[in-house]
Amino acid sequence: MKYQEAIKKSMEMIAEDEKSVFIGYNISYGSKAYGTLKDIPDSKKIETPVTENLMMGLAMGMSLEGFRPIVFFERHDFMLIALDAIVNHLDKFEVMSNGQYKLPVIIRATVGSKKPLDPGPQHTQDHSEILKNIVKYIKVYEPKTPKEILEIYEKIRNTDSPVIIIERRDLYNIEEN
């Protein structure tokens, strides 16, 4: 199974939960999250404008009402707009509210690839180290193999707390038995 197929399979596992909802842009249209959400029904997906702060707000707000949102960012470069929502809100709400509010939001943070076309410095930055250091409470995972993808999603599918999963487009075609 390829890394990309492991992500797709994990997304389909998450979609089995009636409370799960997929949020982002290019998820019902365009690449459908690089193909990983192409078989998820549209009723489970919320296609948003390119408004990264709003995307995170939709996820956090829906989680307050019992949904289990998973947000797709197709490149770290674009995710920077959402850092206020992630760092000042998602990361801190449980602690600031003394545990009254838990936000089970999963973030897919994808690093762009330079192959086959190099889209340049605003589309291929890897901010993994910054992401790991800028949040205090959110768990950040960096699966490097298809097996790790499957293991991590199995582990966090019922999480009560927010999680960031860093994925890399350069790994999408690596294969593992």
Binding site: I46, P49, T51, N53, L54, M56, G57, L58, A59, M60, G61, M62, S63, L64, E65, G66, F67, P69, D84, A85, N88, H89, K92, F93, V95, M96, S97, N98, Q100, Y101, K136
Partner: protein, 212 residues
């Protein structure tokens, strides 16, 4: 909403803030406190439409919202004295706040979207100042609520100041006509951005510092 005559509610609100003033001015509150004042009547009118099960998203100036939403006065005093005035949460009354300008607006939209999907008749009320009205985050949140007809009302509490900077300096003479999910009222503030007009000496005081 507190079930009392308007004059009694106004006194109840004003008295709460007044009781904090000697504590602030004698440096007994080692945290920033943003006092409310001057908008009692307008808020009482708005809260007549707010149901107990509704969500309130507030901001750094949250005391009146909390009391009018049915929050307990002693709980609020404890919140203020322990440094939580700028980050107030109370799940009993669906009360959430953020001290980031426009920080809560997108979250309010998400809650409204969830409510609509569930077919619930709750409503989301999101209170912002005219400083938040300046931001792009507010714009994208309002547009989403308007376009998807979500059960969310934004209330702009316009006191003409973003911290201490007047509107004329911020955006000149610009004024925006927002869609119907936004209501706005203007008021003359009673107190400055933080604390009161008094000079307070905090130099001898060692705040505990939060663990955040």
């Amino acid at each position: 909403m507190i079930e009392k005559p308007k004059e009694e509610i106004i006194k109840y609100l004003k008295d709460f803030e007044k009781e904090l003033i000697p504590l602030w001015e004698s440096a007994k509150i080692p945290y920033p406190v943003h006092l409310c004042g001057g908008n009692e009547e307008q808020l009482i009118e708005i809260f007549k439409n707010i149901k107990p099960e509704d969500y309130i998203f507030s901001n750094h100036r949250a005391h009146y919202h909390y009391l009018l939403a049915g929050g307990d006065k002693e709980d609020l005093r404890n919140i203020v004295m322990t440094g939580y005035s700028m980050r107030m949460f109370d799940k009993k009354i669906n009360f959430i706040s953020s001290a980031i300008v426009s920080g809560a607006v997108a979250i309010a939209v998400g809650t409204a979207l969830a409510i609509k999907r569930k077919g619930s008749n709750k409503h989301v009320w999101c209170f912002v100042g005219d400083g938040a009205e300046d931001t792009g985050h507010f714009y994208e949140a309002v547009r989403y609520v308007d376009g998807h007809d979500l059960p969310c009302t934004f209330v702009i509490e316009d006191n003409n100041y973003s911290v201490e900077t007047p509107k004329s300096a911020r955006n000149g003479s610009s004024d925006i006509n927002w869609p119907k999910c936004v209501i706005k009222y203007k008021y003359e503030r009673t107190y400055p951005h933080v604390g009161t007009d008094a000079w307070v000496d905090f130099s001898g005081l060692m705040a505990g510092g939060s663990s955040f």
